[in-house]
């Protein structure tokens, strides 16, 4: 079970004023695994994603991608290096069409420059056509191909989540961070996302998921990390984590855990 580590954090800490949102978290994501990060609300899960992607620079500690230090990188640099993410509170480009939303993710793969765009050179047309083709493939992959010319603001909640995934995949990342991809979804939609995540992994992409939905977490995770009050309290296979005493206490409230 020893695929090499792709993304690691070393004693990662984030402090907001006096509040320690993350307190020395060291974890390792292995190549091509589906890793879940769970924990009660306010445990620091989203802060962890923010610290890894440079959205919220860590107070101390290191983040490494393929062994390379990416701690001081800005969000766009991290994205270019191959770490894509979705957001918990969705951020689609509301006044753009679905296709354009995904094309923004293709931006880093575009090769034609400004002069080519102004003069409409063949170089520009080919580049646009190629990226649009890929964007349509990705929309088809998440089941939104039919609605590619609709504005993102007219999508339902679930559709927006799918759009965020397609947009993140457009980067062709090596690691995909999903922040609560099935929150607020019905069981059918959840099932669809689970299949989707498995397919994404089949394509060789490592997936890290923050999720509260235990059916999803237990159903697809290879491994699970548990965060509470900014600290890692457990790590292991799904069945190990489920039986972990510290985890049960964190979820049910310390001291009030039911005795066996």
């Amino acid at each position: 079970m020893t695929a090499p580590d792709i993304l690691t954090t070393e004693a990662l800490s984030v402090t907001f004023g006096g509040v320690r949102a993350l307190a020395g978290v060291s974890l390792a994501v292995r190549e091509r695994e589906i890793l879940s990060i769970i924990g009660p609300n306010g445990a620091g899960k989203t802060t962890l994603f923010n610290a890894v992607t440079g959205t919220c620079p860590p107070t101390s500690g290191r983040v490494r991608l393929h062994g390379r230090d990416i701690t001081a990188k800005t969000p766009d640099e991290v994205a270019r290096l191959g770490v894509a993410r979705s957001f918990q509170n969705l951020k689609p480009f509301a006044e753009m069409t679905l296709l354009e939303n995904v094309l923004i993710g293709r931006e880093i793969h575009m090769t034609s420059g400004m002069a080519a765009a102004i003069l409409r050179l063949p170089l520009f047309r080919e580049d646009e056509a190629r990226q649009k083709r890929r964007a349509r493939e990705l929309l088809a992959f998440v089941g939104l191909e039919q609605r590619r010319d609709h504005l993102a603001r007219n999508l339902t909640y679930g559709e927006r989540k799918m759009l965020e995934i397609a947009r993140a995949l457009a980067l062709e990342p090596s690691v995909l961070l999903l922040d609560e991809p099935v929150a607020g979804m019905n069981p059918t939609e959840t099932g669809f996302v689970m299949e989707l995540v498995k397919n994404i992994r089949e394509q060789g992409i490592t997936v890290v998921i923050i999720e509260h939905d235990m059916k999803m977490v237990m159903g697809i995770s290879d491994r699970i990390y548990v965060l509470d009050h900014g600290e890692l309290i457990a790590e292991g296979l799904p069945h190990e984590v489920r039986a972990n005493r510290a985890v049960i206490e964190a979820y049910l409230g310390g001291g009030h855990a039911p005795a066996h």
Binding site: P75, D76, K91, P92, F93, E95, M96, I104, E107, I118
Partner: protein, 381 residues
Amino acid sequence: MNARNLRHDLFFYLGILLICVPFLKIHTLYVLPVFLGAWGLRRFADFAGENRLMVTLRERTVNSVLAHRRVTVGLILAVALLIPLGASDYLIEVFTSVILYAILATALNITVGLTGVLVLGFIGFYAVGAYTTGILTAKFALCGFWIALPLSGLAAMLCGILLGIPALRLRGDYLAVVTLGFGEIIRIFLTNLNGLTGGPNGILGIKRPSFGLFTLDHPRDFYWFALAVLSLVILIVARLVDSRYGRAWIAIRENEMAAGALGINVFRKHLLSFSLSAFFGGIAGSLFAVKQGFISPDSFTFYESVLILCMVVLGGIGNVAGSVTGALLLIAAPEFLREFSLYRMLVFGAVMIAFMVFRPSGLLGSRVIAQEIKDRADDGP
């Protein structure tokens, strides 16, 4: 009646009252037609918004305009080309002003409309362009207009980059205030840098450009030249909007954080849109200098910056055709209402308020409206 309607009514009648103020001085009776006209317009708008036939008609029009974009653009261009043949010299001058402001509004639309960065001192770039041309061709007579024109654009662009590098790290209102300061600093520089700019007296005797032996002295010839420049600017901007650059700008406007997470370098794209705006602003300034033959700091006040911003908002944020329409409305209309020139700002204020309430997306709207109609057509049975 719900609260929203009540608020609309309140704004509506207040706006009318404001518009009526200048008329009151002349004759109280003038108020009546204004009021009736506004009321009728409003009833018509309500009717048009609900009546099935009118809605279909509107959607058909929008759709056919979109489908035959080339024809529409060709028609508008043909009319614009023919205007000087039938108009007096005075009218041609007015329309030339419209064109210059249309270039400015199109340029400002890149930052304000597409990228979502509020710039309050845009006239500063116009001034830099105008003075670069004035200084190079008249004051020191270093070169001709054809060399000065691109240099004016580049000088404004350089100012844009120098201002943008520190300022674009700020957000929203703070950035707006910095750009406001920039516009004022430029004006004060021009007033006090006597040796270079001629101080409050400005620069005189800027010659009109010429092609070999043929000089663009006649207002008509200059109008056509300005129209050609405007067309080129619109073509460039429209093509950029419909490319990875325009998409990135709009994405940043919609959500900076998401754009960053998708690998877009927000700062660099901001700087690009800012310097492009400045470049075209400088080009417009250069045209202004040769059109007037005389420039002074008085032409580059804060009022002008607000005026250009009004054009962008009125025409439709992020809509290139809207900027031109806004320029036409705000420059041409006041010329025909000269008696009320004292109250111009008052009327502008009222119109802006009315737009905020009734049509926040501007006269032509952003392209979103057209897309909405298409969406509905797709979803329909």
